[in-house]
């Protein structure tokens, strides 16, 4: 049975370059093997050295987790950083730092300062009363083979340090197979499963690790000079008949907007992963947010169809990451997969085991030889068979065009073609999932990465109804019905103005309540519960 506090939260901080992120990955992966669910949420400034990098690990017997305001254990690799986290401490929190523990003075660390973080891991592991072998096994799995021995020794040194006070851990089930991953890892797996064969990605937080994962596959890559090349070469490869993808953040997507419109106008499939971060402009580039919804559903000039997906957890990242390619090919248009820094770089865990099944590939309506082929043939569903170069000659155009792709500007052709393109997705339904008490008058709405946080709230407050939107665009008619049915609608999102709230109001003409947060951080558990309770 769930209790409100069947979890503990630890935070580890240190300057950039001291291995905080690796430490978070190591500990959470070992904790998963011990049968705990974890959420590992990193924060770091846009700097390669110095500053305050920190990682929060929520350890729980429950699967759906959100970051916490208050922590049970703080470990600082540098004593100087303790002060900036004192406000986060619970009253009885344990506080340690590497200086007081004299970790730097251990001969092995003095000789190899880089292992300071794994000594800390060993020490924390003892405070958490966990079995050393599991941590050693995790080291083998997460650390480069040639550094395993030195890190084994470092972990043992930390584990041998004197520990006066230990932490009471939540319940665990070591028989449970719990897997952890970031959304970037899962999206890259999904992209590979979807038979993607080309990508071009300009480095930008928070999709850098996605670029790293894809570079380890056999997917062809061109290092782009800018996001404009990235998007347009992706469109070029897709036009030529190969599935392709680009990824970026809001700043890069702003540069891609003209290309997104081109994809829709010329009816060339395009998949873009848009990892949102804190804008506007350069903003807070290593912090999170959901403020690019407006941008994703209105990228560029003119009216044109597009599909926007917003996975909320690892399973949805796995499914939608693959489905995006099918939708792009079926409807011959841009599909934008909205993620954000919080989900791209945080490590989530899953107990049912991620369903990694490969979704059947659908290239959509295709050219058949022997016919009098026109690329943009008008049809009942607005979709015209697609040829690849090498099959026949045909014209593809960013200009308004007639059925055969010739430039056109007469009123009749224009109207027919706008209608044709719109028809492709005008009746798309679904795109959301209902949780909680389906008969409740109070409806909570969220989208994208807020899913596990709201589900954690729902586990304690099952009387409310919650709709998670995983496809913000097109906005489905059945979603409108759900919104109109509710007496009170509360929309929760990580942006300043309430962009989804405004979209819902525009589509339903029903005023909604907004819970927004735009300080670069995801909703914390205690904070979200308070905000929802106040609204209800």
């Amino acid at each position: 049975m769930m209790t409100a506090d069947d979890s503990i939260t630890i935070k580890i901080c240190g300057p950039a370059g001291s291995g905080i992120m690796k430490l978070g990955e190591l500990l959470s992966s070992a904790l998963n093997q011990c049968g705990f669910f974890t959420l590992t949420y990193p924060e770091y400034p846009s700097a390669i050295r110095g500053g305050d990098n920190n990682v929060q690990i929520v350890i729980s017997s429950q699967e759906n987790l959100s970051p916490r305001n208050k922590i049970d254990l703080l470990f600082a690799l540098d004593q100087k950083l303790l002060d900036s986290h004192r406000e986060d401490l619970k009253k009885d929190a344990l506080v340690f730092d590497a200086n007081t523990l004299k970790i730097g003075e251990l001969p092995e660390v003095a000789a190899n300062p880089i292992v300071k973080n794994t000594v800390a891991a060993g020490f924390i592991w003892k405070v958490l009363s966990q079995d050393l072998d599991t941590l050693l096994r995790a080291i083998k799995e997460t650390i480069d083979e040639k550094y395993v021995d030195i890190n084994f020794r470092a972990v043992e040194l930390g584990y041998e340090l004197q520990v006066d006070e230990k932490i009471k851990m939540p319940a665990s089930d070591a028989k449970k197979k719990i897997n952890g991953a970031t959304a970037n890892e899962i999206l890259s797996l999904a992209i590979k499963k979807a038979d993607c064969q080309y990508c071009s990605i300009y480095p930008i937080t928070p999709i850098n690790s996605l670029l790293g994962f894809l570079s380890q596959t056999d997917i062809k890559m061109v290092v782009p000079e800018d996001e404009i090349f990235a998007a347009l070469s992706t469109i070029g490869a897709s036009y030529a008949g190969k599935r392709s993808v680009t990824a970026t953040s809001g700043a890069g997507f702003s540069l891609m907007c003209e290309a997104v419109g081109f994809s829709s106008m010329a009816e060339i499939p395009l998949v873009v992963v848009l990892g949102q971060r804190s804008g506007p402009s350069s903003g807070m580039p290593t912090y999170s947010g959901q403020s690019d919804l407006n941008l994703a559903i209105n990228p560029g000039h003119g009216d044109f169809p597009k599909i926007v997906l917003a996975p909320g957890d690892l399973q949805e990242a796995m499914n939608l990451g693959q489905t995006a390619f099918n939708l792009a090919e079926k409807y011959q248009l841009p599909v934008i997969v909205l993620a954000d820094k919080y989900m791209c770089e945080s490590r989530f865990s899953s107990g049912k085991g991620l369903d990694e099944k490969t979704i059947e590939i659908d290239h959509g309506k295709r050219f058949e030889a022997g016919s009098d082929y026109c690329r943009y043939k008008l049809s009942h569903d607005g979709i015209s068979p697609r040829a690849y170069p090498g099959e026949t000659t045909f014209l593809t155009s960013s200009y308004e065009h007639d059925e055969c792709g010739f430039s056109a500007d007469d009123a009749k052709t224009r109207t027919e073609m706008m209608d044709k393109r719109d028809r492709k997705i005008e009746n798309m339904d679904g795109g959301f999932e209902v949780f909680g008490n389906k008969n409740s008058d109070t409806l909570i709405v969220g989208w994208g990465s807020t899913k596990s946080s709201i589900l954690e709230y729902l586990a304690i407050n099952p009387e409310v109804k919650y709709i998670h939107i995983w496809r913000p665009w097109p906005f489905a008619a059945d979603l409108k019905k759900e919104v109109l049915k509710a007496k009170k609608v509360i929309v929760i999102e990580n942006n300043f103005s309430g962009q989804m709230a405004s979209l819902i109001e525009m589509k339903t003409l029903k005023p909604v309540l907004r819970i927004t947060k735009d300080d670069g951080r995801p909703f914390y558990k205690e904070e979200l519960a308070k905000l929802i309770d106040q609204s209800i």
Binding site: E225, F229, G236, S238, A240, G390, T393, L395, T396
Partner: protein, 236 residues
């Protein structure tokens, strides 16, 4: 010549426009090389010469202004067996999309670039481009142009381009030879076609071209010499 290379549409170019010549040379090259039209992809820039999409019957893609190179590179990487040509005007190559030009040469992307240099923004009716010569009056300018033009050939040399040709459009047989060699060349190949706009650049001073007998050995010899024409450099 392969008649099926014509779509039958009437071109939108002015009488005497150099793009007629480029269109003819392209068709002759494709025919001579016996490449099936369905295996030729031409990615067009936005501008007068980009309107060739409507008359040349291949796999034509009208892209965005300044962006024909990125689309062409994506096509070529995905399907190396296709003959891929990017077309651009001086506005789209030397003004809007200059970065793609430099980087495609740096990477040595395996495409042919045909640059229709008419010294001016033609389709928008005569404004100065980055290729407009010094001392001439262009539309929407209060005085004669004082800014030195950017040379595509100079940029190609310093960016490591391995095939460089500059051909006045009047020399149609040389243009056709250059395009044929460029299509066959493995790597990035630049064919700059000099075709001053017959309407907006008709009063501009005429360059007196000196034809090279063969490519130079050291591409650096080409820098700063805007009067050289021919197959200027070919790195075997």
């Amino acid at each position: 010549m392969n008649k099926t290379l014509d779509t039958g549409k009437v071109p939108t170019w002015c009488p005497g426009c150099g793009t007629y010549g480029v269109n003819a040379a392209l068709k002759k090259s494709i025919s001579d090389l016996k490449i099936e039209p369905k295996n030729v992809v031409v990615c067009y820039d936005i501008g007068c010469s980009g309107n060739m999409i409507n008359v040349l019957n291949v796999c034509g893609v009208e892209t965005l202004h300044g962006r024909s190179i990125p689309v062409a590179v994506g096509v070529k990487i995905a399907r190396p067996e296709l003959s891929v040509i990017a077309q651009a005007g001086d506005g789209g190559l030397l003004s809007e999309g200059l970065n793609h030009f430099v980087h495609a040469m740096q990477r040595n992307d395996d495409i042919t670039l045909v640059l229709n240099n008419n010294y001016i923004f033609g389709l928008t009716a005569g404004q100065k481009s980055s290729a407009t010569p010094v001392g001439v009056m262009a539309r929407a300018q209060s005085k004669e142009n004082q800014i030195k033009p950017i040379s595509a050939v100079d940029l190609a040399v310093v960016s490591g381009c391995k095939f460089i040709a500059r051909v006045p459009v009047e020399n149609i047989s040389l243009l056709q030879e250059a395009i044929t060699l460029a299509i066959q060349f493995e790597g990035f190949a630049l064919v700059e076609v000099i075709q001053p706009c017959k309407v907006w650049a008709k009063d501009f001073p005429q360059e007196k071209f000196v034809y090279l007998e063969g490519p130079v050995d050291d591409a650096k010899e080409l820098i700063g010499k805007s009067n050289l024409a021919g197959i200027l450099y070919l790195d075997k």
